[in-house]
């Protein structure tokens, strides 16, 4: 009798905590940086993914394999959501030299919500996130969840979860010019030889202090190119990132811009990221 009651409690606890398939290895919650919101005043919603040790989920570009984590928000009428913002991910090199970009332990995927100005007082809003992911260790498992959050409006500000949101907002990549740790970024993309559509690229970052020890190059996906092996070298105040973009066979890509994040650990070992872009001109080797 006791055992049965105990089992029931455990089962109830598990289903309450996960609200999704058992052994999913990921738990998803929807959180806000306010406990009540103000009409017309933007606030942050965040999907917190808590990931079992040894498992990882993927960034918007998963890398050589994997699947991007996706979030779509369902909002009350008149509310708008900004773009989904991914904190700076980690670069993993898996056996076979397979490169992945993603998150271990936990991540907060963020979006800014703007409520309408005209709402009844004490408006009750329900927000829902439709989240899907691939989580991998030795094996991979597809998962999804639809966590929701109810928030009421109020006339005065009511912050919530300040440490959690501050921590993850600080890990969103910023434009390098807005980062006081970066003095300059210079990038080149030189048409290759023998394939004139390949691009030998360099990104040179000049820091305002000695270069960080851990620097990751995290490119967004490019439709027509494969990214070949990347080298990151730092000396004194400079980090040099070298990589080759090879067009997929049969492709003759036109001009494009590679968007990328350069991730690093700052002096307090906090993960930070800067946005950079590399212009890929359409010229070939002959008219270079």
């Amino acid at each position: 009798m006791f055992i049965r009651a105990f089992c029931f409690c455990v089962a109830a606890l598990v289903s309450f905590q996960t609200a999704q398939t058992p052994a999913a290895h990921v738990r998803a919650e929807l959180l806000a940086n306010v406990s009540t919101f103000q009409h017309g005043k933007p606030f942050w919603l965040g999907v917190r993914l808590s990931i079992d040790p040894g498992w990882h989920v993927y960034w918007k570009n998963p890398g050589d394999a994997g699947l991007p984590t996706r979030v779509n928000f369902t909002l009350p009428d008149g509310f708008t959501a900004g773009p989904l913002r991914f904190p700076t991910p980690r670069r993993f090199v898996q056996p076979g030299n397979i490169v992945a970009f993603g998150y271990e332990d936990s991540v907060l995927l963020l979006t800014q919500i703007t409520p309408p100005l005209n709402l009844p007082a004490d408006f009750q809003a329900r927000f829902q996130a439709n989240v899907s992911w691939l989580v991998c260790s030795d094996v991979c498992i597809l998962g999804k969840a639809t966590p929701s959050l109810d928030l009421a409006s109020s006339p005065s500000p009511a912050p919530a979860n300040p440490e959690l949101f501050d921590n993850w907002i600080a890990q969103l990549p910023v434009n390098w010019a807005d980062n006081p740790e970066v003095a300059a970024v210079h990038s080149t993309a030189i048409p290759g030889n023998p394939n004139p559509y390949s691009r030998a690229c360099t990104v040179q970052i000049t820091w305002t202090h000695p270069a960080p020890k851990f620097v990751d190059f995290l490119p967004e996906a490019l439709v027509d190119y494969n990214l070949l092996k990347t080298a990151v070298k730092s000396s004194q105040n400079t980090t040099l990132i070298e990589f080759t973009l090879a067009p997929l066979a049969g492709k003759t890509p036109g001009p494009a811009t590679l968007q990328a994040v350069v991730g690093y650990l700052d002096k307090d070992a906090k993960r930070r990221g800067i946005n950079i872009s590399v212009a890929l001109p359409a010229q070939d080797a002959n008219n270079y």
Binding site: P95, I98, L142, A200, K229, G250
Partner: protein, 203 residues
Amino acid sequence: MRKTAAFASLLALVSFALIARSFAEDQKDSGVSIGAKAPDFTLQDQNGKNVSLHDYLGKIVVLEWTNPQCPFVQRHYQAKTMQTLASQYESKNVVWLAINSSNFDTNEANQQWAAQQNISYPELNDSSGATGKAYHATNTPEMYVIGIDGTLLYQGAIDNDPQNEKTNDKVNYVRQALDEILSGKPVSTPQTKPYGCSVKYKD
């Protein structure tokens, strides 16, 4: 002034040459090239019988990197994507070989999977990962199509639908390549980005 400009352009040339040189080494890491000879291999099938690529010269060969534990592979087997293609093209001089480069792969596991999925084609055990690495296979599933002369004609995804959400605009790249090869046309999409689980290599 002129001298400075000349020096600057010389410097640019030299640094270009240096950069081009340092990247040349990376080209090796791009994997097998479309139009190049596909690397030969000899691997055991689910019954312990040796199967070599060179046995099939004169036939079109489809290689399917597989891992029964991967949800993308499971999804395509539930939809019978691979089984249907393999049986539809069997009479058209096309051979289908599935290769499992997972470090935990065994002939017994391949036998079980083949029986469970009612597969007649070989499930090859590459648990050492040597063949997967020779082809630079990174995903399961990942597909390669090899022509009758042993050259690689297609590498990449099975289709254009990683998220399994397309209906009318779904393209099966392997079917497209096989149809083009069989009607004597060049393969219009010889390379795509594969999607799926990472290949679970040993090292």
